[in-house]
């Protein structure tokens, strides 16, 4: 499409306003238009709707932000077409909801201090007829009044996530029951919900397809029975950690469309219940019975008997032994089974051979399984070449031979967990790196790997997650290898890799620009210079710097200024960090939500300034701040009272802080953990 006055779409993100440069996704078909000299009437060439559709295909959030800044027309088009919104602060909520009229997905989980009044007020002025999905996870300030307003404002509501709103109860459930079109609902950790609340939801929303009641321990067999009788369309159900028993499984077995059932840690469920489920009329594809104390392989055998199309079976940390009946029945699943987790089980090589019969296996979990040997792994992977996720945590008998087998047979492997497999070395990793180009995640914590291993791993250019905790022979050289070619790296764990210095961080900052999570705890050679390099990692969200005794406020400033997306920072035992560090955080780390400053040399002044400035800060660990006076604590905590959700403090303070402050904190939904920790530490 060519027009006289038009815009060039190029790969750079933002040139200058008006030049119309955008970034895009690789799969995007470019509309090539050339910018001619001439007036600003060029926008007439592209209708708002067309421009909006073009902008729809811009995926990266930062690129979308850049688009909005190009011109008013671009901003209008983007606003008119925006489908999803994630709000970070309460104040602009009303304005945002009015500005974006095509919203379908609304995420308010990160909206600091959201409460009923502000939610209701924001919803009242907006047109939200298109909103289908709302996330209110951890929005502990929202109660039934806010939910009433939400349901009234969004007539097409299909999915609500209310997880971790620990104060939510039956009244909140009743509010949601008014959303008759509701298909997906998560009440995970809504501790106050009982059978009554569940009944209201079940009667009010008969079209429910996906429901999570995880941790709602007030719910009993009666509630589950009613659920099974009313919600015939249920496809996915999570009753993990509930006190329900076999009778619930009897009820559930009548849900014909049920495909996914999670029953993690349901200690009242046993083999009889699984047998009932096995005889039921479900279309079960995925079953999770991990941590169920009273489930044995016999029960699982009878479950498989009735459901020959099982795809995912998670029995981690539940079985004590493996009976032959289970293994023979497993053969029935040989075409459909894709995921099998048996963590914590004693596993002989013959068992692995039998499991290998399921040739389509994509994920296998053998974490902390006794008896896993090279031969066993070999017999498994020679039959299962489609494996993508292999968890061998603490399988300490494994050597490079196991890695060779995996490299030879499972070329598609993406996630490999080898924590504490101390007999492996760079030779085995060389094989993996050469044969498995799709490797995205590898956990080598406590494996004693060295720089040579990293030189090989550098071949894995798709690597996203690299865990090297406790590998003290890793040095800056190894990091240089990784940063030279693993440019997609998102998470890097260097816990206790104490040979790392500032130069290693310089290499990282140069090569791995997408890093979001970085753990440098106990890498005590790092100084402010190193943190200065980290300041160029713009995507950094979580940073752990425990016991870095050489860093000071200067380093913290560099990080706070450069890493604008910083959400969490851990400075426990950074003995040289003082008020200057807190001032920097207060001034620049405006998105900070979680902070640990235990044992830092801060005073009441710095603490008070910090807690009053950061509007999003809700989780603070401040054990043993010996330089802060009682008045300092009082003032600081009062300043942030309405915003704090979690606090960790020395138990001695409990009797010294004023009772009305503690009551006020509790009333505002803040949970305080009082601990007894010694001041002096021996490492």
């Amino acid at each position: 499409m060519r027009h006289r006055n038009s815009y060039v779409l190029s790969k750079k993100t933002l040139d200058a306003p008006g030049s119309g440069a955008l970034g895009w996704d690789t799969g995007f078909m470019v509309v090539r238009i050339r910018y001619g000299g001439g007036g600003g009437g060029g926008m007439a060439a592209l209708s708002l709707d067309l421009l909006g559709q073009v902008l729809d295909r811009v995926r990266e959030p930062r690129d979308r932000k850049a688009c909005r800044l190009v011109s008013r027309a671009f901003a209008r088009a983007e606003a008119a077409h925006r489908r999803a919104l994630r709000v970070l602060r309460r104040e602009p909520l009303a304005r945002l909801l009015r500005a974006f009229r095509a919203l379908e997905r609304l995420d308010l989980s990160a909206c600091a201090s959201l409460d009923d009044a502000s939610l209701a007020a924001a919803l009242s002025g907006a047109d939200l007829a298109g909103v289908r999905r709302v996330c209110l996870a951890r929005a502990s300030g929202v109660g039934w009044r806010g939910l009433d307003a939400l349901v009234a404002a969004c007539p097409r509501l299909e999915a609500v996530d209310l997880s971790h709103c620990v104060g939510a109860g039956d009244r909140e459930a009743a509010a949601l029951a008014a959303a008759t079109g509701l298909r997906e609902l998560s009440l995970e950790k809504c501790l106050g919900v009982t059978d009554m609340g569940l009944a209201k939801v079940v009667v009010g929303c008969p079209r429910l397809e996906k429901l999570s009641l995880k941790w709602c321990r007030e719910i009993s067999d009666i509630g589950i029975d009613l659920l099974s009788k009313k919600c015939h369309d249920l496809r996915s159900l999570d009753i993990s950690y509930l006190k329900v028993g076999n009778e619930s499984l009897r009820s559930i077995s009548s849900l014909e469309k049920l495909e996914e059932l999670a029953m993690v840690c349901c200690s009242c469920i046993d083999d009889d219940g699984l047998e009932l489920l096995g005889k039921g009329s479900n279309s079960l594809q995925s079953v999770d019975v991990s941590r169920c104390d009273h489930v044995t392989s016999q029960g699982l055998a009878s479950l498989i008997d009735g459901h020959n199309f099982l795809q995912k079976l998670n029995a981690a940390d539940s079985l004590h032994e493996m009976r032959q009946s289970f293994l023979s029945n497993l053969a029935k699943l040989k075409d459909t089974l894709t995921v099998l987790r048996l963590d914590g089980l004693e596993v002989a090589s013959s068992v692995l051979l039998a499991i290998g019969g399921c040739n389509n296996l994509v994920e296998i979990g053998l974490s902390k399984c006794n008896g896993v040997t090279d031969e066993g792994i070999s017999s498994l992977v020679t039959q299962c070449s489609h494996l993508r996720v292999i968890d061998l945590t603490c399988c300490n008998l494994l050597t490079n031979n196991a890695l060779d087998s995996i490299a030879e047979n499972c070329k598609m492997v993406e996630r490999l967990r080898l924590e504490s497999c101390s007999s492996i070395s760079e030779k085995g990793l060389e094989q993996i790196a050469t044969s498995c180009p799709n490797l995205k995640e590898i956990d080598l914590t406590d494996c004693g790997v060295n720089d040579a291993a990293l030189r090989h791993l550098a071949k894995c250019s798709e690597l996203l997650v690299l865990k090297l905790g406790l590998c003290s022979s890793i040095s800056d050289k190894g990091l240089a290898f990784i940063s030279s070619s693993c440019g997609k790296l998102i998470e890097l764990d260097l816990y206790r890799c104490n040979s790392i210095t500032d130069d290693g961080l310089a290499a990282l900052a140069n090569g791995c620009k997408k890093i979001k999570m970085l753990n440098l705890c106990y890498c005590n050679k790092i100084t402010d210079t190193g943190l200065g390099h980290l300041g160029s990692l713009e995507e950094l969200t979580n940073l752990e710097l425990r016991c870095l005794v050489r860093i000071t406020g200067i380093g913290i400033s560099s990080v706070a200024i450069g890493c604008k997306n910083l959400i969490e920072i851990d400075l426990k035992r950074c003995y040289s960090v003082d008020d200057a560090g807190l001032w920097a955080l207060a001034r620049y780390a405006l998105n900070l939500r979680q902070l640990t400053i235990s044992y830092c040399q801060v005073t009441g002044l710095g603490l008070c300034h910090l807690l009053s400035s950061l509007r999003c800060l809700q989780d603070v660990k401040m054990v043993h701040l010996s330089w802060v006076s009682i008045e300092g604590f009082e003032m600081a905590l009062r300043a942030a009272c309405g915003r704090l959700k979690k606090l960790k403090m020395l138990s001695g303070l409990k009797s010294v802080l004023s009772p009305e402050l503690l009551q006020m904190l509790q009333a505002c939904g803040c949970r305080i953990r009082w601990v007894n920790k010694p001041l002096v530490y021996k490492d």
Partner: protein
């Protein structure tokens, strides 16, 4: 505010018996026989083997192996005596190997009751609701 769960508890990998608490961790930087191990200040549901002198990475110590009381799986050891001054802080403390314990959550009792639930009247209503079309 309701506390859903009690303290975070680790259990024996084999028989799920509760053996130690997360809050009792003193250090995570220890090496056991086969890999990573943690130092705890307390232990429960364990039985102890005989005392013996062992040369560990940090020097000579008198230790006693600890077993899960139910299934007799060796989970680690207890430091009875340390011969070097700098290692004395370990005396009386327990080593649990990470491979032998699994993370578990202690299911305490819910502290909060919703005002709309609990009575027999409500249960009666619910059972009537079963017939509601």
């Amino acid at each position: 505010m309701a506390e859903l769960v009690g303290p975070r508890v680790y259990s024996c990998c084999h028989c799920r018996n509760h053996v130690c608490l997360h809050d009792d961790i003193i250090s995570k930087a220890f090496q056991g026989r086969n890999g990573r191990a943690f130092l705890f200040s307390h232990a429960m549901n364990i039985s102890m083997g005989p005392k013996e002198d062992r040369q560990l990475m940090t020097g000579l110590h008198t230790v006693a192996d600890i077993y899960c009381r139910d299934c007799r799986e060796v989970l680690g050891w207890k430091y009875e005596r340390a011969f070097e001054e700098s290692q004395k802080y370990k005396e009386g403390k327990f080593i649990f190997e990470k491979a032998k314990i699994s993370d578990a959550i202690h299911l305490g009792t819910l502290g909060r009751k919703s005002p709309i639930s609990g009575g027999s009247f409500e249960i009666h209503v619910l059972q009537r609701l079963k017939y509601f079309k």
